[in-house]
Symmetry: C2
Subunit: 210 residues, 2 copies
Amino acid sequence: MAQYKIPNATIKRLPLYYRYFQFLSDSHNQKVSSTELAKAVQVDSATIRRDFSYFGSLGKRGYGYEVEPMVEFFKKLLNQDKTSKVALVGVGNLGHALLNYNFSQTNNIKIVAAFDSDPAKIGTQINQITVYDIQDVAQHLHEQQIDVVILSVPVGSAQVVTDRLVQAHVKGILNFTPLRISTPENVRVHNVDLANELQTLIYFLDNYSA
Amino acid sequence: MAQYKIPNATIKRLPLYYRYFQFLSDSHNQKVSSTELAKAVQVDSATIRRDFSYFGSLGKRGYGYEVEPMVEFFKKLLNQDKTSKVALVGVGNLGHALLNYNFSQTNNIKIVAAFDSDPAKIGTQINQITVYDIQDVAQHLHEQQIDVVILSVPVGSAQVVTDRLVQAHVKGILNFTPLRISTPENVRVHNVDLANELQTLIYFLDNYSA
């Protein structure tokens, strides 16, 4: 697949578009107007047009979008014809919930291994996913060809565990800890900071609400 | 506090700055260079300078930042001198984890009430937070003066529950369901879509990694 230069904000909306076209396809719709699309995904039409423009001519002006070609397009773009395998590190409360979270409901993502340092957890299964000893993380990731990891360890061990993951040749980390972890440039980190999200929402309400 | 017109991206970084200055204060640092600050919060210096410029003259060129005044400034800005009370709706796996999540570790946010429709859960306590019947949500939110809610119900009931929350005069919803919920304009929704976050990370790795 060709490499596009696309803004981050656009990339973040791609799964949203894909999911909606998939939904339309599942409910046997053949086309959708750009107004309906904008309303459903809650992104304004101008932004959608600009997003789509990065990929050449998708849709026709005044006609809208044909569902099946769009599903196929996004499926290829997002590699949804293969399942992405990821691992989870840190089986605390949040880790436990993420192991039970149905990522495959909307995306072809599957957590296939979990890691922890607690002997009481090692060897157990949660939602059919085995919890392995964090000591053996390099070996298991290598064997199962996993290079994306969800990090949900306590903040105090976040950097130590990250260093270990980097040594194990992890390429991407979805970081749920409130710590901004340090990694080499070739390891990509996306942060999901739950307290920050809530704080930002409250800030907006305090300062901008009617 | 004066109303600033600040870009969303800047607002999302404010809690990060606050948290770092707070950390410096806790560890008895009196000043920090802009290079150190940039490294710690992983935002480049130019962006930090632009962010801070919205608030007038913070810091001195070539000198860096004095910690205590910055802590005080962000504390006021983010209303950290009062605790923000929020409620959680939907005590499934994720909701359960969020009730145990220590939001107050880094931010003055406290979940003070939870709601569910499952009779087995109603009346129980999780992390000292009582689970109430979702039928009574309007009454409890009103009594406890809560207008911000974390939504972690199953996707199938997301919109129905949202409509109920809107009727209960909720002003902000942190939406953890994969559904883009519809609300009137005066109700602000922030989406935390976990599958989307993971999908976006994988897309970057597939398309932009070395």
